[in-house]
């Protein structure tokens, strides 16, 4: 992760100089100084490159003066209309253009502190790289960027704006790391272990194994796990930011009911006995993205010392076919007491979620509950890769989520719930089936989950199957794990549930 610094403006002696430029912006600060030093060559070069400062535009000028290896101009669009989203995207676009330099200086004199910080966030998020399993990559091919200095006259304001964003970026990176890890490395036991270091941030971490889960009656989660050689885990993470931290007193008597986030963590999903087709099955390593996101979110909230009491719970299992695996036709008893006829062992995510959600409500009585899961292929067919599907029993929470997603480019699209869909889950032998057929497949999945939400409890389910992983580069994420949801839910908390 490149280091980000905010410093007094001074002409860099090496590396890259980045010029964020608005349309019709007048050169000032380092931009003007450099232009003067090289006799107007910067202005001429930008004109020759037809660089106008439009959103998405960029231009590189090589070695205009001694010491500076490259000058990168990056467009911000119309001055006065620059949003944090635009600044983030500009920062993200900048990263690729300066990654081969060891250091870069951003001439940020013209950017107000929130935009400078957003630029830095975009750049940092785009710099993410998961390369721990590459052993033969040539040095020349690797990015080299170690430090990015933002030249600004408002260094203190920028640092203040940056501190929480840095914590959020770390949460995003934790989530992306977990999602990117291969499934032989990141199995349920290992994933639970990786939550422990978060105690350093002030989180309380509890890990439950099969013995405890059996006692809690989590027959649905255990049924999914029983085909794997690796034991399942449930991790309970608590952040008592409103109640004064990790003190025993705070834990005993929190000042408020917490908000709750629940994540599906299927570390690999073969489909089980209802096995998936081979093509693309490797993608199923990221079937734990909901859990990875919740872990990253909890790290972000703790890292920025959010003034909220929050709990994050993840159910971690591996869905494997084997002699001990669950079969289609099995009936399992959930922690809530309701019974489920397992029609398709590949609809396992909801079986994991229902037990964890029941536990979360019984123990914490949360103000609201949001669950995240790469739950259905149907949501990809419904919405594609630009929106996560959102299902909610509460219009206020739904509106808050919709609003929170826009500025952080993690958009959600509300999908319907209703009795007619719920009826598709009717079983002849148990309280419900675990699938409702192809029509409205992601809706019936949400209906299933809703049966485990206490009456009157605000709840939203985010089906992130289409957005957890990107097959192409995004403005602030390289292709691969996106950590979709960390920023959205952090924003939800920041906008409505702090203080």
């Amino acid at each position: 992760m490149p280091e980000i610094a905010f410093v007094k403006p001074a002409m860099p002696k090496h590396g890259a100089l980045v010029l964020p430029i608005a349309e019709d912006g007048v050169p000032a600060g380092l931009h003007a100084a450099l232009d003067k030093a090289c006799g107007g060559a910067i202005s001429r070069a930008l004109e020759a490159a037809s660089f106008k400062g439009r959103k998405g535009q960029s231009a590189t000028i090589w070695a205009p003066v001694e010491g500076i290896a490259r000058v990168v101009a990056i467009g911000l669009g119309k001055a006065g209309e620059i949003s944090t989203e635009t600044a983030e995207a500009a920062g993200g676009a900048t990263y690729a253009l300066v990654a081969k330099e060891r250091d870069a200086t951003v001439a940020a004199e013209g950017l107000p502190a929130p935009l400078a910080a957003a630029f830095a966030l975009g750049l940092l998020l785009k710099s993410y790289r998961f390369d721990r399993y590459r052993t033969t990559e040539k040095e020349d091919d690797k990015p080299k960027l170690e430090k990015v200095s933002f030249a600004t006259d408002a260094a203190t304001a920028c640092k203040n704006a940056w501190a929480p964003l840095r914590a959020i970026a770390e949460g995003v990176f934790i989530a992306r790391d977990l999602v990117s890890e291969p499934p032989n490395v990141l199995h349920p036991v290992e994933m639970a272990e990786r939550c422990k270091p978060l105690e350093k941030l002030g989180l309380t971490i509890e890990i439950l194994g099969p013995k405890e889960m059996k006692k809690l009656g989590m027959g649905a989660l255990l049924g999914v796990a029983q085909g794997s050689a690796v034991e399942p885990r449930m991790v309970v993470m608590q952040w008592l930011g409103a109640s004064g931290g990790t003190s025993a007193a705070a834990k005993k008597k929190p000042a408020q009911k917490p908000v709750a986030f629940i994540g599906k963590g299927v570390t690999f999903d073969t489909g089980g006995i209802s096995i998936k087709p081979a093509g693309g099955m490797e993608d199923m390593k990221w079937d734990m993205a909901g859990a990875g996101t919740v872990i990253g979110l909890m790290a972000a909230l703790a890292g920025r010392k959010a003034k909220v009491d929050a709990v994050g719970l993840v159910g971690l299992v591996e869905n494997m076919p084997s002699g001990t695996a669950q079969r289609p036709g099995d009936v399992v008893k959930t922690a809530s007491g309701q019974t489920v006829e397992v029609i398709n062992t590949d609809a396992e995510g909801r079986l994991v979620l229902c037990d964890v959600m029941h536990y979360a409500q019984a123990r914490f009585d949360p103000r609201f509950m949001v669950d995240l899961a790469t739950l259905t292929g149907a949501i990809i067919i419904a919405l594609g890769h630009e929106h996560a599907g959102m299902f909610s029993n509460d219009d206020t929470l739904a509106q808050q989520l919709s609003a929170a997603g826009k500025p952080v480019a993690e958009a959600v699209w509300r999908m319907p719930l209703g009795e007619a869909y719920d009826k598709q889950l009717k079983s002849e032998i148990a309280d419900m089936k675990n699938v409702g057929g192809r029509p409205g497949g992601s809706i019936t999945a949400a209906q299933f989950i809703q049966r485990f939400v206490d009456k009157g409890r605000p709840w939203a389910h985010l089906d992130i199957a289409g957005v957890a992983w990107s097959s192409k580069d995004l403005p602030t994420a390289p292709k691969g794990a996106t950590a979709f949801g960390v920023r959205l839910l952090d924003r939800l908390v920041a906008d409505h549930y702090e203080g």
Binding site: G280, G377, A378, I380, I381, A382, L383, G384, H385, E386, H387, W413, M415, P416, G418, A420, Y421, Q424, R438, P439, G440, G441, S442, I443, T444, G466
Partner: protein
């Protein structure tokens, strides 16, 4: 007149089976109280009683508030009555709107394509004269919906493009101007997409244009319908299983035609047009192929990726025709367009895609009133980007698995709507009920949309 005839009466005729809705809280009239002793009156409950005056059917009605809920009670009455020729509905004490909704639900439920014994419904109300004008409006919508169902139920060998056009020409009897554009005129218009889709079938494609003048001198509201009389998928042929349901792939066009009939029957003051793209997507030496590039009527070129994504092609030409010929106030297209829509919303809601939020809200409100529910779906930046073609202005769809094809289709259609306020209703999941019979979805919605939002006198 399609289906059972509804007549208003002040009193039930003795000997005719009488359905009595019982709202939660008990019967309204003392007369039925002895029969209703211990009857819980929850929605869906019923009690069949033999009385000296004839058969009395008590129907639990719950607490109906909206019209759609009263319709459900009326439908339950018909189902509970069994195979009768005549049935009376007791609506004494009900507000006229509720009585009319009760009859609407009953009349719609009484329809069946070939085994509908019920010929007569007596709606028993306190004051028939006061209810009559309301019923006349409702009956128009019912007739529109039943016309839609009749067309949709017809098999592909009976309702081929020529036959579909002929059926539409019958609407001239109701004051609707009907023009059917054949292949020659379509060629002159440059309707390359519609012509290509229809090329493989024995009966060539048609563009049917229905016009209702109304009384207001304003641009019309336009309905655009997909009318694929049978969809084999073409060269990109469909799997055999379930292909027989493709006889209903013209349900969108049928719904538009049904809505026009409703407007005409109730003499709506609002001008309206329907542009129906009619073709059979079959296979033959003349069939269009994946990889073909078509020039649409708008001049835009389209790369064909999958000949089974034919609906959006015929609609492209129909939308352009409607927008350029009529400069409508608003355009709504209805189409059984994508399997993706079924995966997304199932069979309880149709998806609506739009370039105009107000129109979307209006259509959704109309749908709620008539029990034809919509749900807004997105057209994202990425959906449009996915249609970039290397050889033409745009691709018709994408190939692969797990594709948001309903949104891709909507992004495609939006290109042909221009600046006209436009909404696209993908009715693939709602065109048939659980028994496989056509629902007529859309005809009543469009009729109600016009009634609610396009008949205000300010629109003169």
């Amino acid at each position: 007149m399609i289906g059972a005839e509804v007549r208003l009466r002040a009193a039930p005729k003795p000997g005719v089976a009488l359905a009595v809705p019982v709202p939660a809280g008990g019967v309204r009239a003392a007369r039925w109280a002895p029969l209703a002793a211990g009857f819980a009156a929850g929605l869906g409950e019923q009690r069949d009683c033999a009385t000296p005056e004839g058969r009395v059917l008590l129907l639990g009605a719950g607490q109906p508030q909206r019209g759609a809920e009263w319709e459900a009670v009326g439908a339950a009455a018909v189902r509970a009555a069994g195979p009768l020729k005549r049935l009376a509905l007791m609506a004494h004490g009900l507000p006229p709107e509720a009585a009319v909704a009760l009859a609407t639900g009953a009349a719609l439920a009484a329809w069946h394509p070939h085994e509908a014994p019920l010929r007569r419904l007596d709606l028993v109300v306190d004051n028939p004269a006061a209810v009559a004008p309301l019923w006349a409006r409702a009956e128009a919508a019912v007739q529109g919906a039943l016309f839609t169902r009749e067309l949709t139920a017809l098999p592909g060998n009976v309702l081929h493009p020529a036959a579909f056009a002929a059926r539409l020409e019958e609407l001239a009897d109701h004051g609707i101007r009907v023009d059917v554009l054949g292949e020659k005129r379509l060629r002159r218009l440059g309707a390359g997409a519609l012509l290509a889709v229809g090329a493989g079938a024995r009966h060539g494609p048609r563009l049917a244009v229905l016009r209702w003048r109304g009384q207001f001198a304003v641009p019309p509201v336009a309905f655009i319908g997909k009318g694929i009389t049978f969809d084999t998928g073409g060269i990109s042929i469909k799997p055999a299983e379930g292909m027989e349901r493709m006889t209903s792939d013209m349900a969108g066009a049928a719904a538009c035609a049904g809505a026009m009939l409703a407007l005409a029957l109730r003499n709506s003051p609002a001008p309206a047009v329907a542009v129906l793209a009619i073709a059979e997507n079959s296979m033959g030496a003349e069939s269009y192929r994946p990889g073909d590039v078509l020039r649409t009527m708008s001049g835009r070129t389209v790369e064909v990726v999958d000949t089974d994504a034919e609906g959006r092609l015929v609609l492209a030409d129909a939308l352009h025709y409607a927008a350029s010929q009529f400069q409508p106030q608003a355009m709504l297209d209805l189409a059984t367009l994508t399997g993706a829509m079924v995966t997304a919303l199932g069979s309880h809601r149709a998806g609506i895609f739009t370039n105009n939020a107000a129109l979307q809200a209006q259509a959704a409100a109309a749908g709620e009133q008539v029990g034809e529910a919509l749900w807004p779906m997105p057209i994202g930046t990425r959906h449009r980007e996915d249609l970039a073609s290397a050889i033409a202005d745009l691709k018709q769809c994408c190939s692969g698995a797990l594709l948001p094809d309903a949104s891709h289709a909507a992004a495609f259609l939006r290109e042909f709507a221009g600046d006209t306020p436009w909404a696209h209703l993908d009715i693939a999941g709602v065109r048939l009920d659980e028994k496989g019979l056509p629902t007529g979805f859309g005809a009543r919605l469009l009729d109600r949309l016009v009634e609610l939002f396009f008949e205000h006198p300010d629109r003169h």
